[in-house]
């Protein structure tokens, strides 16, 4: 793995280039969320219709495989690329998956990290986690962390930092030859603990940093300070990854603080709800924004395709969008699919929403490269308040 910062904008926002596996990805970038390595709905042969290479970073939680597939078998098959038939993609392994593998801080102990999963509560020891990493062979992986929600006691929070650092060292010592390691940084909502953890991890031999324990109860107002406390202690030239931030505003917050990679559940939740992103991605559209009355529900950033207003709407979700869904299907058709509970609805929505959200990241990178990220961010937040 290689990473280099290419441009700065006002504040902490930066644009960089990440070389991972066979891909060269511009950052800030989005990791697509997966279930057992494949998208929730998008069929693998339709993955190639997403913009490339931006869509090639996939977040995989190795815990997903514990339900029905042994690490031995995965190893025998040859790791994630072989298992999933995705040879052009890059896998980033983080144990936590903000949809179905949530850290269960009450059950975590000195032996391992506890997660609430579809196959029950699991306690994962560092040595077990590293076995998963060795078998699955992702290009990039984060060390095992003790993530705690914002409301735990100071004592518990301090323990989580100590444990996370201990597990980091253990994971690194068991580290396989290939695969870049990101050191996990926790600390709850304590600025001191966050700083302490970051400072410790910064001394370790890692390729980058995974900021964990966020999106677990802290408010959006608290977050910038916590992020800054962490980032300030980290070297500039190594990439930073964060999970659990969903909304566009949260992403913008993370970028302003200096985060480069994001795993977000936003697309998944939108898709499940029958929502499609519609906020304009074209600068000229943004400037000339003129919402027709029928377009406005309570949220002009997205439309809920279950609404009856779309029954006869023969427009694509977003006119001019080049995604597979908008090139081939209408709002009326998707409305029908949602009404008759057909999975194709989710497939088409996940394609569009992914495409659109990746477009949002592209806009962000353009703004950073042009040195006007803060203006872009203010404008975005203002308009969609």
């Amino acid at each position: 793995m290689k990473f280099a910062v290419k441009a700065w904008s006002n504040g902490g926002a930066r644009a960089g280039i990440l070389h991972l596996g066979t891909s060269t990805i511009d950052t800030p970038s989005l990791l697509l969320s997966t279930r057992k390595g494949l998208p929730h709905f998008i069929s693998p042969d339709l993955l190639s219709c997403l913009p490339s290479p931006e869509s090639r970073l996939l977040h995989v939680s190795p815990l997903h495989f514990l339900e029905g597939l042994s690490m031995k078998t995965i190893s025998k098959i040859g790791g994630l690329h072989q298992l999933l038939g995705l040879h052009d993609h890059c896998f980033v392994s983080v144990p936590r998956d903000s949809i179905q593998c949530l850290p269960e801080a009450n059950s975590t102990n000195k032996i391992g990290a506890s997660f609430e999963t579809p196959c029950g509560r699991l306690l994962i020891k560092p040595v077990e986690y590293m076995e998963m990493i060795s078998s699955t062979r992702p290009e990039l992986w984060a060390t095992l962390a003790d993530e705690v929600p914002a409301w735990v006691s100071d004592k518990r929070n301090k323990t989580s930092v100590d444990r996370t650092i201990k597990w980091l060292d253990e994971c690194i010592s068991l580290s396989p030859a290939s695969g870049a390691v990101f050191g996990a940084i926790v600390g709850g909502s304590s600025l001191e603990e966050r700083r302490r953890c970051a400072q410790e991890v910064a001394t370790r031999n890692v390729s980058g940093y995974w900021v964990g324990g966020l999106g677990l109860g802290e408010s959006m107002d608290e977050r910038p300070a916590l992020l800054n406390a962490v980032i300030e202690a980290l070297p500039e030239e190594k990439p930073r990854l964060i999970c659990g931030l969903g909304l566009p505003e949260e992403i913008l917050q993370g970028i302003a603080a200096g985060v480069d990679l994001f795993e977000s559940t936003y697309i998944y939740h939108l898709t499940l709800g029958g929502f499609a992103l519609t906020f304009p991605l074209d600068r000229t559209q943004i400037n000339a924004l003129n919402l027709a009355p029928s377009d406005v529900g309570s949220d002009p950033r997205k439309i809920n395709l279950r609404a009856t207003v779309f029954r006869k709407d023969t427009m694509p979700i977003v006119e001019g969008c080049t995604c597979y869904t908008c090139r081939n299907h209408t709002r009326a058709y998707i409305n029908h699919l949602l009404n008759v509970h057909e999975m194709l609805a989710q497939i088409l929505l996940e394609i569009h929403n992914t495409h659109h959200f990746l477009g949002f990241f592209r806009l962000i990178r353009e703004a950073i490269n042009a040195g006007r990220f803060e203006e872009f961010r203010k404008e975005f937040v203002q308009r969609w308040r």
């Binding site: 279930r35 057992k36 494949l38 998208p39 929730h40 709905f41 069929s43 693998p44 042969d45 339709l46 495989f65 339900e67 029905g68 597939l69 042994s70 078998t73 025998k76 098959i77 298992l83 999933l84 038939g85 579809p118 029954r311 006869k312 023969t314 597979y324 081939n328 299907h329 209408t330 009326a332 058709y333 409305n335 029908h336 699919l337 009404n339 008759v340 057909e342 999975m343 194709l344 989710q346 497939i347 088409l348």
Partner: protein
Amino acid sequence: MAGTIKGLATYQLEEIGCQIILGNTYHLALRPTSELIDELGGLHKFMNWPRALLTDSGGFQMSPVDGKPMLLTPEESIQIQNRIGADIIMALDDVVKTTITGPRIEEAMYRTLRWIDRCIAAHKRPHDQNLFGIVQGGLDPVLRDICVRGLVDRNLPGYAIGGLAGGEDKDSFWRVVAQCTATLPEDKPRYVMGVGYPLDIVVCSALGADMYDCVYPTRTARFGTALVPEGVLKLKHRAMAEDTRPIDPTCACMVCKNYTRAYIHSLVTKDAMGSQLLSFHNLYYMMQLSKNLHSSIVQGKFPEFVCNFLQKMFPKGDIPEWVCNAMEVAEIDISSCCAPFRYIQATKVQSNLNEDEIQAV
């Protein structure tokens, strides 16, 4: 389908060579309604399917929404189908289960004949929609014959053999198909409705049928079952968890080229992606089967294809008797696939030996 094949995008259906899709008239009439589909330019446009579509009459179902039987007149059925705009539309017939007996079957057959005239009269788009008649008559050859003649008299673009695939024994099933294909015109398509299993399709093709429809491939996929040359493969089975082979090593579909049984096993019944991938494979399998049936006939190698197919499915030679009987009538020699005892048994029957001299092996 209700506007989509379970979990597959039109791009994928085109990729696997699907040429025609069946639209479920009852469901579409309920949601989004035939009027809406018509207003938006017809079903092809609505779902963006550039190839062929066929709609059934909508008369075959009970309401899944409110449980009431949906009563349609022939005129209503045709009107709805005219609005949906499929390339082939089906006449409204009076279907009865093959497992019942008595005067109801005869009543249904004559009603079907009366209704075909009403369907023809009601059909507003004979130039772009082909109305197929459906042969009824239960398992009674006399009734079937009357129905065939009646329909053929109307000179329809195609004919369906209906009322089967409903629980009758296989031996009765193939005999009805054989009788109909023998008497329906050679130069019009014969469509066996609701069939079916790969074996049934091979037998019916040998008997001269051309078209089929069945929910089996996608439905069985949702239960974790894959279609393979040997029959079926149950991916849910624990043994699959360690099996690193593809579902079918001879299959060229993207599922078999990229995934192991072990991985699919980890998905089935738990993740939507599992059904998706299995549906894709199963449909690909059916498309390949059709392609192979077609090309083997064109190349004059149909009997070899059938033997090959049966050998893979019944490696011990224990081919069901109904298949042997049907193939005999179809004049396809499958003796090479049948186990020796079976062949001997068949020849013993032919030479009229005493019953106690015929031994079950």
